[in-house]
Symmetry: D2
Subunit: 394 residues, 4 copies
């Protein structure tokens, strides 16, 4: 029997309309292309149309990234009946308008995180998709690292026992130069928040996925560099300065938060864009009564696992390379020890989206997760202003 | 010329009276014995008398650990004129009474940390030693790891630039078994607090030493196991259960705190005795504008250093083995790459005490540090109760 | 300006005929698909035809992996004028016949490693391609890890000074179970050798690439399990047992070799399929007069670099995440700290093949490298038999 | 009950005469002082007399290191009846004369490694102590790291199954500067050999201790820098240049060797003083049918252990901090996670010597081990000259 049991069957085409073509546009495009190569599914994504306001740029991007056509107005996508999924990879301030309109148009939606600029928007988005009955998914890609999915398996099966501690740091350093410009990610009206929504939102998603709901938080936010020259993102995490004149940075450079989970666990979160030397230091440790795990995105295939039930004298954190057939998603790729990378978190995520569309089941994480995440983000922001603990109420 | 330039010169004898003979009694005793072996000083500690209430036990301990005599009542030490230094290694609730009496008796004092049960006691102790004009030192031993002293050097000379972030975790797991007894370290009237004063106090000392004063905090404390069988410590971190009857745990099993430093840096602290798999996970990371450092007591000789001024493409955290002649204290020991251990933090600490007594200068850390640390501990406790940020006022 | 400067230009199509569809067939197929997505080139690979003897299997594979058609006889490819490149991903015993025929047919050739079963075959292959004037490349993919390419840059620019030591281990453990069957990789007439040609060949390629030519070797080879049940590979590194009857293992389970380089450096090589716990432990360290590097495929994005010119006290191995724009190939992928995986070594390798075809220049590594590698492999084998050092003569 | 069960009992005094007062003199002196502090034994070492030819230097050293008296002629020690043990810490060329004389004088002997300059000397030493019936021990201190002793326990109890591979590197870099002088360790008539006897001897001892006897070897030796200015060691691994005139380096800067063990395992050894960036990189990995271990002296408390019997998906190398009560020697020191250092390998070694003297049993490693080690060293040297494999015959 062949290892390629799938072959080119009579697969349902799922036609994608992707709005945005920079960092996330590239990551999603690649994932759509690769998911049928690696996985056997009944559905197959079609890279139908890419949308961007700058015609010349979106034309080049769509050709480069493998899209069949392009548009310059996202509203056009909603009118077309050859688009099944709207993929929102725009700056955050456009999520709500697009998502609500897409829901009304009966399109399935994949939306980049954070779901919205604030809780009110997020709630409106959630209401819209629930009313429309479309499939909705929010792109918290890191939970699709095989090591994280395996961590979920370990916790669900009780291998760690009762969870006492969740701690996460998400440390980057790409804006530390005071000359780095005031890009959209540093402006509240476009990004919603800074390190909070960009980075800590990922840690909160992992926390909710792995440990459960958060009931109360105490936050601390800081903007170390208050003004920057005007400029814009050019792709990835790069930017160009457009002007010598400066504008106010209106989001947080760094945020930290204490949290209590509903199940009694304690959470400590820290996110910063001023973590010198940490390019993408997305780390996490969980301590339970029977065991602990540690994970660091910079060595994303490896999960460190401690089990108290190991014989005395032989206890210690073991480094599991989550590339074995027993590990979620790993079988689709390469033999054990032949690791995967950042982009595979998106391939796995798109697999989940396709699986969901194929089966009509709710994907995870969905807009309910996006909404709850947003509630936590906003509660942290309010806590920082009020200088006290606040309950998280969904 | 010999490498042993010191030899047995006409050294001033500094006669020690050590109160306590268990974990810290052993650690201090060893350090007194070893400091003249490794260092060239004008003073030489004499292990004069060890004190404990249980005569049979203190007799055995004093003989084993190399003391010339023993006493069963610490007050006797103060009356003797052949004792120059009182070393307080008792449970925390006895620190104040002993320290104040020792100061009045004109003895120099080394006191285990935390300095006292609370701020009021700490202040009284501080006043007493200042009034008496004796040398006073508090035993925050981890700042005597060569890697920490070298980190201090790096920060002082500006190698890290402006400091933005200090984060520390101190994770242990020795009381996680619900059958572990209610030893003195779990009783507020004797220990003052739990993970807070036992573990986080060390992180706070490192923070103050390396970054500066803390201006405000928001704390979170938790006791996961509320009742335990009665029992007592037997040395090290071991204990025996004395009774089936249970008593209330009155200290924190875990504490976390957010903090702001006077210089604008953000601090995130976490200490727990429920960090499964972490036997003595005392870790720290500092991010500055020009560089970052990371340290973990479990590999105590190694300091990770990132320097932004390294050429692009060649940037990364380098692992410095702080065993070279350029590293503080290291020259006294072994050739580069031949590491030292936990006990050497105490040898270096006693070296500082001897140096201070020899020169009549103030050692670091002293009771002012012990007091300020206590203020921070207590502010965290109050913050936890009041569920809001509180200013730290000394 | 757009980050996608390439777009869909008038690119030259390079039509591939791929022979083999299992582990390497999958890896190469994916790379052909992805190279135009990530890189801007004047040439574009077309997945024209995949070849396999089992029609049902190759049909499924070709559809799954994105090929436009399939064939069951590789000779058919050579007759077709719509095939520009023959990609040989078969078991090793077929390399020579196919490569020589392909060269005669004027096809460019990419051949999996090792180039042949023995030196004589390798020489015939090399002669054939040189006579035909076609582009030829051998698939030593690990030298295309960005960290390795950056190591090459460091050595070439003198950052490590004179090289004294090269040491490499390539450790796997997938055949340790005595019940693992006698697949083609364990039969000399098909595989040529075992750990030697499968694993150490990679280390030798890295050594030649980074340090230079090897002048003499002393080898040691061992087959720990002499007989195994009959069976075959099923893809990746998996296999099925087809029969209870056993056959002789005719290749090495493990090989080690000492070597001297022409430039005076010493080499120590070790390769094994009995390295329990090492799934794909491909490690290397180089020591030079001015610096050292370490690399491990299990954390393939990271290069450890020590520089003697770092200030005293600040010396140590730094961990460089080779995902920055300064690192070879890295710019094509994701922002710094967002790592790539095993499959990207092939994408980079195919990029080199396409670049070579586009510019008409000789790619690296080519069949001259394949031949020299084979000479070293065979000299190690003879050395093992003769129990003495042997000169390597090309 | 007290944790100090020992106390000051009626212990037998074992009076030491130590010959040598530099690096090893310091290490041994410290160990004699500390062993009664940490361990409960029936014997207690007395630091009776230290010997050195330079009276002023040995006087200072003996006082500094805690010896009761000093001598300038080692022969005097043998005449005295208040010396029970001769501890030979001289350069290697003096070992034989002293050891043989000491044996004749009925003294127990601890000798630094390697035991002698060559096999003939080593045999004479071994014959002498066997004839005299004295206790004899050779100072291969690294096997006294708790992690190594625990590795021995694991192998002995079958946890790793049949051993297939032993590989060790011992890498230093302290003589790489061409201006580093021609100290005794670089002169064959005094040191016997270079990296071979200084470093690889340790790896060979670990190999014999953990895996078993070696039956054949193939060696490679190199001296990268052939001439150096005249000078001498000043302690530790430091040296001073005494003269501008140069002399020939007559020992190896680096040695590598392949080996086969009697039990069928393969060995790969490498030792160098040109391993830039490795101050004391003493590393080892063992692969067996059921598990593997890794160890690195730079993190000496940690043993990495892989067990094939761990559940699939949960397999990986675990990092055991060998500071738990279950680990050899660890209980004598500090609580789990409070690590020890280089000097403790000597404390544990002296414990073994004292235990042996106390019980009249043969210590391990003894001169039989020293002799066999020497045979292997010399066989490697001859193999290098003859350029072929040689059998090891004891």
């Amino acid at each position: 029997m062949s290892e390629y049991s799938g072959g080119k069957r009579d697969m349902k085409k799922v036609r994608i309309g992707m709005i945005g073509y920079k960092f996330m546009g590239k990551a999603h495009s690649h994932a759509y292309r690769d998911v049928p190569f690696y996985f056997d599914l009944d559905t197959e994504p079609v890279l139908q149309t890419m949308v961007g306001r700058d015609e010349q740029a979106v034309k080049l991007a769509s050709e480069k990234l493998g899209w069949q056509s392009y548009e310059t107005d996202w509203r056009r996508l909603l009118e077309r009946d050859d688009i099944d999924v709207i993929d929102i990879g725009t700056p955050n301030h456009m999520h709500a308008e697009i998502a609500i309109a897409a829901a009304k148009a009966g399109k399935h939606i994949l939306c980049e995180k954070p779901l919205a600029l604030n809780v009110q928007e997020a709630k409106e988005i959630l209401d819209a998709v629930q009313k429309a009955g479309v499939i909705h998914m929010v792109s918290y890609n890191y939970r699709f690292a095989p090591a994280i999915q395996y961590a979920k398996h370990l916790i669900s099966t009780g291998a760690l026992g009762s969870i006492y501690h969740f701690r996460a740091q998400y440390l980057q350093d790409w804006i530390m130069d005071p000359g780095f410009p005031l890009v959209w990610r540093l402006r509240k009206e476009i990004g919603g928040s800074g390190a909070l929504g960009d980075l800590m939102a990922h840690s909160i998603d992992l926390a909710r996925f792995l440990v459960g709901e958060i009931s109360e938080v105490s936050g601390m936010m800081e903007t170390f560099i208050k003004q920057r020259p005007i400029g814009e993102m050019t792709g990835g995490l790069s930017a160009t300065v457009d002007s010598d004149s400066k504008g106010d940075v209106t989001v947080d450079d760094a945020t930290a938060a204490l949290a209590r989970f509903e199940n009694g666990a304690l959470g400590v979160f820290e996110a910063t864009r001023f973590g010198r030397g940490n390019r993408n230091g997305n780390r996490m440790e969980i301590n339970g009564s029977k065991g602990s795990i540690r994970w660091d995105m910079e060595n994303m295939n490896q999960l460190e696992l401690y089990l108290e039930d190991d014989p005395r004298g032989m206890q210690g954190f073991r480094t599991i390379d989550c590339t074995e057939v027993e590990h979620p998603f790993a079988k689709a790729y390469w033999p054990a020890g032949h690791g995967i990378g950042y982009e595979h978190t998106f391939i796995n995520l798109i697999h989940e989206l396709m699986r969901s569309i194929s089966t009509g089941t709710v994907p995870s994480p969905n807009f309910e997760d996006g909404y709850r995440n947003q509630v936590i983000l906003e509660t942290i922001e309010r806590s920082n202003i009020e200088r006290r603990w606040l309950n998280v109420s969904y």
